[in-house]
Amino acid sequence: MSIFTPTNQIRLTNVAVVRMKKGGKRFEIACYKNKVMSWRSGAEKDLDEVLQTHSVFTNVSKGQVAKKDDLSKSFGTDDLTEICKQILAKGELQVSDKERQSQLEQMFRDIATIVAEKCVNPETKRPYTVSLIERAMKDIHYSVKASKSTKQQALEVIRQLKESMQIQRAHMRLRFVLPAREGKRLKEKLKPLVKVVESEDFDDQLEMVCLIDPGCFREIDELIRCETKGKGSLEVLSLKDVEEGDEKLE
């Protein structure tokens, strides 16, 4: 629109409204945009930077101030600042795009960090860097869900990344000691769960060192405990089988 046409709708600028229902009544306060989340997380400490005014409204856009009686009835106090703080802490608000964006970005990073920590390149047994994982996540168009926990999403991401690149969860190194009697039978059962058998020693009892996928640990543990009735033992040698130290390429 090139010509400025007056609208008869009043727009509130730079205002974020925080609402709360208490005692059957609706209360609103007028805050600055992008500030309420900072206040809740504790980054913003100055209340005046958050509140436009210390008064409490029933409707901010119409400018209707809440009645004193209602306030003291619902909140048990008539200290406006105290009431504002309560509403700020517990009220509902529309999260602004900036706030949402920064939150999602943070979660995205967090997921990438978790993936990078848990996984290795199966060829070199070395971890991938976080930035590489981030790029890979963007390549597969992974979208972060704000409602699910980052760890849950990280496991999901690992599954999806396996299709496009060389990645796997870092193996766990285990050692079982099984009584000879049950050793043979159990070995057959364990076989599908074990990735690599590093050493096997069968004299009076079966001793095995092997690498497994961390996802199977609980299953293996359960199996050994139930089948051997507590006679076999299981020992975690390392949680993450990765190469350590720097390597010079030559």
Binding site: T13, K35, D46, T129, L234, L239, E250
Partner: protein, 1110 residues
């Protein structure tokens, strides 16, 4: 000047005395490649018209675009002076600092060097560097003062002024040489003095006379300096293709003036003038205000030529000059609109630069057979080993070096200074050559046949009965088969070794030894049978390999010519060595040959970047490409770090750019991105500081009520955690069964360092106690035991005082990863557990009743997790001691039984939940029989999960709170930085250092030079771009080197807010002035996606809230 045939060059290769191996060295943009062009043009390889514009030896695309040389490349030239013919192996080298490694590789193969200096700019930083390099390699330099035309056209100097200017430049160059000489003499004297002092170690010599003379006077240095009358200086303008030495003009004028040419040569440069009346050459031109001879006879002529041709464009005068010089200039050139064309047409006939330079090279620079004994010894004695200490057989080889014969009996000695990659297309065996007549007919026949077949096939398609399709498909399939391998071949990069034969004759197909840089002849002489050769089957010797020389090439700039054999003294390329040689090596037929001393690199690689492929699936290609790059570049380093980063270390930004281009286009052929490498930090606690941020004493001041701490102290801690004022944290597990009390104490710095240095020993101890718990024993060698004992006593020595009483004995564990620089201390009353020092004291303590409490392992696991990632930014802890002061468990016996069995699985889950799982070595507790029996009974767990898991989590949390209760600090990795700089840029060096939080440790002057050596420490976090900034700010006069040295506590508190009155006054309420530690901490937290206490907008009122069209 016709094209020199290859046969002629090959014939010349045999005459060692007529070979000159030279390289061209100079500062960047002083005209090395232009000069090389002129020399190449003299052999008819390129047109003289194009000389100076083509830059023939810059064969890479980016070299042409940027206009700087990046790789040294060699070419063999022919030069005839009178009857004698010479073969000149010319190596052009880059001048940019970043590529000084290429200079080193070039200098090593040469016997002489042409140092080019810009007549306007004079001596520049790289000029000094190359002179130093030539000096260190003991090769003889000659000087070319280039771009004299700029003095005439740009600066518009008069001949007289130009003369003084040239004199000054010559003085500068000689001054550099002089410093090199004096520093060497002083060094030798210092060595001698040390020897003398060792000899006179007894202070009996009371009347020791100190020798003040410093030995400078005794050593003759006149032969080192450049002087036109010595004939080792050429004045030139390579772009206009002229150049001359005094010698040439002396020849011209001796007849005209009737003066003997020797006299003229002596007097043409210097303070001499011509007395016209007396027809005599007199001294003292300057004092008498006369024109020096050089101005009168040489410069004036050149000036008048330029004046006529370029400035005034006086046709008649030009013709007169041309006629008087006896030259013939083509009419085409005379008419040309650009005067430069005419100028170079005249000059290249009158004073051809190639003539002047090459004759100087042939006369003044040594041939390979004149190699000095000193240089040989230096080449042969690796590192600090003296030549005398080499085995006798090796010493005998010195004579071989000196002889430099190409006889059959002489052992072959070749040095490979670098490997360079070429496309397989460029190799002679793959190159397209003109077809011979026979081949053409053959092809014609083939084409005809195919045509006929096609016709037959089409006919047969019409009448399918007569189809005899047997022949055609077979032919086509054969064709496709031959096409495929060539396509693959083109993909592959071929490496060619850039080498020189020092002795013997190298032949194609010869079996030779390849000696790595660390090869020791003394060792192999013992193991190898006498008189063995590379063809025999041999026992394996470290750093020794056998191989066959597959291809030998003569290097002709961008082309290669295949050779059958190469005699001694020549520069050559060897193909097919990429399997055996990484970067440089020595090749010999005699196992007694020592490896040559490693190249002295002026610049060490310091610019670090992390490299990633654009598409994560292309990782293997990147790794392969980086390997190739490492081989192809003498100075680049590549490594994979523990974090999984692929790091490329280069000498400078330009070098980095080239390496990245190489990776993208040649070696990896994928899209890559380079970024700042990840910087590690450590977290630690310190003793409470006594003074505040404004250096006022704390305690006496009244704390101001702080709005920042509106949320009250205790509310930070969740339920079940209690922190008292001394930093003791007591924490109860959620099921209220166990309580631990923990205190964090900073470890003394020396202890941290000791722990860090002995992580291997700690690992061994840990393994031992692990085995001991299972009832097995691990055999440890006596030496290791002694080392452990020593480590323990050292630790005891460092942990002195009231606080640490008996601390060493009470150590419970080390962490993280069970061997790190943090300690868990057992201060629980009445709990005696097996000591970590079991392995050293197993004899005496066996009998005593020491028992592990249940869940001992959970405590250790919790500690390991806590030390692996600290509360500040999830980086490992360092130098923290957690002392467990109390540990109470109140629970029914039934619960113990159930839980301790489950401990393993549970601890595992707890670790997973903390997602910090790495490198922990958990192990099961060996259970008592009765526990096992009763375990099935109580399989119900309470709502908080298994107990041992709770204990791990509780322990970890307690450690974190204990850590937070103390003043926390971040530790930064530090580089030690050594900077060589001249006195005039010292201030700038300090400026750059202080801008990047560097701290100067000391500075000292290098004896005999005007160079300062500054040692400083610099945080790794600030080092990105440091080298580049340093070079830019000091115009390349300071060159830094960075080496990782240690971890250092950053003194500022990342959580600091002003609390005292003084601090309020000084910093204000918000204190938003830069806090280094906070900056680092937030950067790491942001990278990891942790919560950062940062506002989305700083000022609520100042945000723009309306979109444009509202």
């Amino acid at each position: 000047m016709g094209h020199t045939s290859l046969e002629k060059l090959i014939r010349l290769q045999r005459k060692t005395s007529s070979i000159r191996n030279i390289c061209i060295l100079a500062h960047v943009d002083h005209g090395k490649t232009t000069l090389a062009d002129c020399l190449v043009a003299s052999n008819g390889i390129i047109s003289t018209r194009l000389a100076g514009k083509l830059r023939y030896l810059d064969s890479r695309e980016d070299e042409q675009i940027r206009g700087i040389t990046m790789k040294s490349s060699a070419i063999s030239l022919h030069y005839a002076a009178g009857e004698s013919e010479y073969l000149i192996n010319l190596i052009d080298s880059p001048g940019h600092v970043d590529f000084s490694s290429e200079v080193s590789t070039a200098v090593r193969l040469c016997d002489g060097a042409i140092v080019v200096v810009d007549a306007v700019e004079g001596v520049c930083p790289q000029t000094q560097a190359v002179l130093r390099q030539a000096w260190l390699e003991n090769i003889r330099p000659v000087l070319v003062i280039n771009k004299i035309d700029r003095l005439i056209i740009e600066l518009k100097l008069s001949p007289q002024e130009a003369y003084t200017h040239l004199q000054k430049i010559l003085e500068q160059v000689n001054a550099v040489t002089g410093t090199l000489f004096t520093s060497k003499v002083l060094e030798e004297r210092a060595v001698k003095e040390v020897e003398v002092q060792e000899a006179l170690s007894e202070p009996s010599s009371g009347e020791l006379v100190y020798d003040w003379s410093a030995g400078l006077e005794e050593t003759d240095d006149s032969h080192l300096y450049f002087s036109p009358d010595q004939g080792n200086v050429v004045f030139a303008s390579a772009i206009d293709s002229w150049g001359f030495s005094i010698h040439q003009f002396a020849q011209i004028y001796c007849q005209k003036m009737g003066v003997r040419s020797e006299v003229l040569q002596k007097t043409l440069w210097g303070d001499f003038y011509l007395n016209a009346k007396a027809k005599k050459i007199m001294k003292g031109a300057q004092s008498k205000g006369k024109k020096p001879l050089f101005v009168q006879l040489v410069l004036d002529n050149i000036w008048s030529l330029y004046d006529a041709v370029v400035t005034r464009r006086d046709k008649e005068k030009v013709e007169k000059i041309v006629a008087s010089l006896g030259l013939t200039v083509m009419a085409r050139d005379l008419r040309h609109s650009d005067p430069k064309v005419l100028l170079s047409a005249i000059c290249s006939q009158w004073l051809p630069v190639s003539q002047a330079v090459l004759s100087m090279v042939c006369e003044k620079l040594p041939s390979p057979s004149e190699i000095g004994a000193e240089r040989v010894e230096r080449l042969m004695s690796v590192g600090t080993r003296r030549f005398d200490s080499l085995p006798e057989k090796t010493q005998e080889l010195k004579q071989v070096f000196l002889d430099c014969t190409s006889e059959e009996t002489a052992p072959v000695i070749v040095f490979v200074s670098k490997m360079f990659a070429v496309d397989s297309k460029a190799l002679p065996q793959n190159r397209q050559r003109p077809l011979t007549q026979e081949e053409i007919t053959q092809r014609r026949d083939l084409a005809r046949q195919r045509h006929a077949e096609k016709q037959a096939a089409s006919q047969s398609a019409e009448n399918p009965e007569s189809a005899n399709a047997g022949g055609t498909p077979a032919v086509t399939s054969a064709n496709t088969l031959t096409v495929k391998p060539t396509a693959e071949e083109e993909e592959k990069e071929h490496f060619i070794a850039f080498a020189r034969v020092y002795s013997g004759v190298v032949r194609r197909g010869q079996r030779v030894f390849v000696l790595g840089p660390k090869y020791d002849p003394a060792l192999s002489l013992r193991t190898l049978p006498d008189g063995c050769s590379a063809a025999d089957p041999l026992p394996s010797v470290p750093h020794l390999a056998c191989c066959t020389l597959e291809h030998l090439y003569m290097l002709m700039g961008r082309e290669l010519e295949e050779l059958e054999e190469v005699p001694a003294g020549n520069v050559l390329g060897i193909g097919g060595m990429e399997e055996f040689i990484l970067k440089s090596a020595t090749i010999s037929t005699s196992p007694a040959c020592p490896p040559f001393t490693p190249l002295n690199f002026e610049a060490t690689p310091i610019v670090r970047v992390a490299i990633e492929p654009k598409h994560p699936s292309e990782m293997p290609k990147l790794v392969r490409g980086m390997r190739l790059l490492n081989q192809a570049d003498p100075c680049a380093e590549v490594l994979i770090q523990e974090t999984g980063e692929h790091v490329l270390v280069t000498a400078g930004e330009v070098h980095l750019q080239r390496c990245l281009d190489d990776l993208r286009e040649r070696f990896a052929k994928i899209g890559i991105s380079a970024s700042k490498p990840i910087i590690p930090f450590r977290e630690t606690v310190i003793r409470p500081p006594k003074v505040d941020m404004v250096n006022e004493e704390m305690g006496r001041q009244q704390k101001v009520a702080v709005i920042h701490q509106a949320k009250d102290e205790q509310s930070k801690y969740p339920e079940g955690v209690h922190v008292d004022s001394t930093g003791l944290v007591t924490l109860t597990t959620p099921n209220k069964m166990a309580t631990v009390g923990i205190r964090a104490v900073p470890l003394p710095e020396e202890v941290t360092r000791l722990l860090e240095g002995n992580s291997e020993l700690i690992r061994t101890m840990e393994q031992f106690s692990l085995f001991a718990r299972e009832g097995k024993t691990l055999e440890i060698s006596q030496k290791t035991l002694e080392e452990i004992q020593g480590f323990k006593s050292k630790l005891e020595g460092l942990l002195q005082g009231h606080k640490w009483r008996n601390a060493v004995e009470r150590i419970w564990a080390f962490g993280p990863r069970r061997c790190g620089p943090n300690i868990l201390l057992n201060s629980v009353e009445g709990y005696r557990r097996p000591s970590v020092w079991q392995c050293v004291e197993r004899e005496k303590e066996k009998s005593e009743a020491v028992m592990l409490r249940d869940f001992d392992n959970s405590i250790v696991s919790g500690f390991q997790l806590a030390t692996l990632s600290g509360p500040m930014c999830e980086e490992p802890l360092m130098g923290v001691c957690f002392s467990v002061e109390s540990w109470e468990i109140k629970f029914s016996s039934q619960l113990t039984q159930q839980d301790s069995v489950e401990e393993d699985s549970v601890s595992q889950q707890a670790l997973e939940a903390d997602n910090n799982a790495s490198g922990r070595t958990a192990q099961s507790i060996i259970l008592d029989e009765n526990l096992k029996k009763s375990k099935r009974k109580g399989d119900t767990t309470d709502c908080y999960g298994p107990f041992s898991g709770q204990l791990i989590a509780a322990m970890k949390e307690a450690c974190r709170y204990a850590f937070q209760a103390k003043p926390q600090r971040l530790m930064a990795a530090m580089y030690t930085c050594e900077i060589m700089a001249t006195a005039d840029v010292l201030g700038r060096v300090y400026g750059v250092l202080s801008k990047r939080e560097g701290r100067v440790l000391n500075e000292e002057m290098k004896e005999g030079t005007d160079m300062f050596i500054i040692r400083a420490v610099l945080p790794v976090a600030e080092s990105f771009g440091f080298a580049d900034e340093m070079r830019k700010r000091t115009s390349g006069l300071a060159s830094p080197q960075l080496v990782f040295s240690h971890w250092e506590v950053i003194s500022s508190d990342p959580f600091w807010v002003p609390t005292t009155e003084e601090e309020y006054l000084h910093f204000g309420e918000k204190a938003d002035s830069a806090n280094q530690a906070l900056k680092y901490m937030n950067a790491v937290r942001k990278r990891k996606g942790l919560y950062v206490e940062e506002k989305i907008v700083e000022h609520a009122e100042k945000q723009r809230t309306l979109s444009k069209n509202k």
